[in-house]
């Protein structure tokens, strides 16, 4: 299992916005730091929930694993593949699209593969550039995200959108999500609580200039916890597209947890 922590994070951080991943692929790092104040985002709920105590993490992780209640198992059962953003700057949209797909899977809706390109295009003016992750989520809340049948996954320009894409996107909106705020002493615990509840968390890391989707809380070694995340660098990254970010370096600068997507089967 790929674990990123204080000892090796520089190996994963890029230079001048570019990193070469483990498979030798050149990846563009393009997630902008958070700017929106908590409480200003549409449909977003403030992070006003009780935290699950740390002394329960270990036993809860065991219970979740034993029951197959972890989100990684859910994504595998639902056959949701790893995204690959290839050479684009769309990590922010990839993170959100996977977050919406995980929420839909948790609700029991049919598996549809959503297109990150249908999120990033409108918020960047159909240019290949970085963005604020909160803008992606606002786009998904307002207009939704179309399936790859209507918009290719890494589509940049408007030209590749098929007729009916906007109508299709309305079937896949976020109707409730939690704005988890900025990095502070409780950010790790807020993310951990949502993951233990079964909700994915879309996160941005300033040191990485990158956005990924947190999937599950894991215990790296006794009493040491981290977040299992799914990257958007294809299935060859880490373990079938997954890695672990240890507490500390893995505590995100911005985090948003999709809770409820549109109740639509298609």
């Amino acid at each position: 299992m790929l674990i990123i922590d204080e000892s090796n994070w520089r190996d994963h951080a890029g230079e001048n916005g570019v990193v070469i991943d483990g498979g030798g692929q050149r990846r563009v790092m393009a997630c902008k730091p958070r700017r929106a104040p908590v409480g200003s985002l549409k449909y977003a709920v403030k992070p006003e929930f009780d935290l699950i105590p740390r002394n329960e993490y270990s036993s809860r992780i065991k219970d979740i694993k034993a029951a197959g209640a972890d989100t990684r198992t859910l994504l595998k059962e639902k056959r949701i593949p790893a995204f690959d953003q290839q050479q684009t700057s769309t990590c922010h949209a990839q993170s959100c699209a996977l977050g919406v797909m995980a929420s839909r899977a948790r609700q029991g809706e049919a598996t549809v593969i959503l297109s990150p390109g249908s999120i990033s295009g409108p918020i960047t003016g159909y240019r290949d550039e970085g963005a604020y992750i909160e803008d992606d989520l606002r786009q998904v809340a307002d207009f939704g995200v179309a399936t790859i049948d209507f918009v290719p996954p890494n589509q940049i320009s408007r030209r590749g959108w098929k007729p009916g894409a906007e109508e299709n996107a309305k079937l896949h909106r976020l109707t409730q999500w939690i704005d988890m705020g900025s990095k502070d002493s409780q950010m790790f615990d807020r993310c951990a609580t949502q993951l233990l509840l079964g909700n994915p968390v879309c996160v941005a890391y300033d040191w990485w200039e990158h956005a990924v989707t947190l999937i599950d809380l894991v215990e790296i070694s006794p009493g040491v916890f981290g977040f299992e995340f799914r990257n958007s660098w294809g299935a060859t990254y880490g373990d079938d597209g997954y890695g672990v970010l240890a507490e500390g370096r893995g505590t995100p600068n911005a985090a948003y947890s999709p809770v409820q997507a549109t109740a639509s089967t298609y």
Binding site: E48, F49, D50, L51, I52, E56, S59, R60, D63, I64, A66, A67, G68, A69, T73, L74, E77, R106, Q107, G108, E109, A110, L171, T175, Q176, I178, T193, L196, L197, G198, N199, V259, Q260, T262, A263, S264, T265, Y266
Partner: protein, 155 residues
């Protein structure tokens, strides 16, 4: 030939009885077991309504059961299929979900859960097979949950 038939049958019976092949029943009377038709269970519909804001207070075992693969797998094979002909009618929503695009059956079960369960503040489970079912607090463990499901959806 006809007049010899009763005599032949009587002789045959006496030979069989004397050989010990058939013994008269002795001891307590054999209870009469009624023949019962097997219970036919129809495909079920399952809807769970939860409150994300309070889910962190649920006991660990109950929360794990809520998201368990046992629940998903059972529903995958025992729930009726939705309008698309392939998605099982099994959903988990928060109280304030908008179900305008869902089937009438899912909406009815959801409304039942909201009506009965909202005041209790616990996750609510609705299981129905078209004729009977369960509407009550979400069971505390995976084993309890499976017992409820199997009662209405069969093994």
């Amino acid at each position: 030939m006809k007049k010899w038939l009763p005599i032949i049958l009587a002789l045959l019976a006496s030979v069989i009885a004397s050989s010990g092949c058939v013994r008269p029943h002795q001891g307590p009377p054999i209870p009469v077991v009624p023949i019962v038709a097997p219970i036919v269970t129809a495909p079920i519909r399952v809807v769970i309504v939860k409150d994300n804001a309070t889910a962190n207070r649920l006991p660990s075992a109950q929360l794990a059961a809520l998201n368990s693969s046992n629940l998903r797998n059972y529903c995958q094979s025992h729930c009726q299929l939705g309008p698309d002909g392939r998605t099982p009618e099994f959903r988990t929503y928060t109280w304030d979900a908008d179900l305008r695009m869902q089937s009438q059956g899912i909406r009815d079960a959801f409304n039942d859960a909201v009506l009965n369960g909202k005041s209790s503040g616990v996750p609510w489970l609705v299981v129905n097979n078209g004729t009977t079912g369960y509407s009550g607090p979400f069971p505390a463990t995976d084993a309890d949950l499976m017992a409820v499901l199997k009662k209405y959806g069969g093994e």
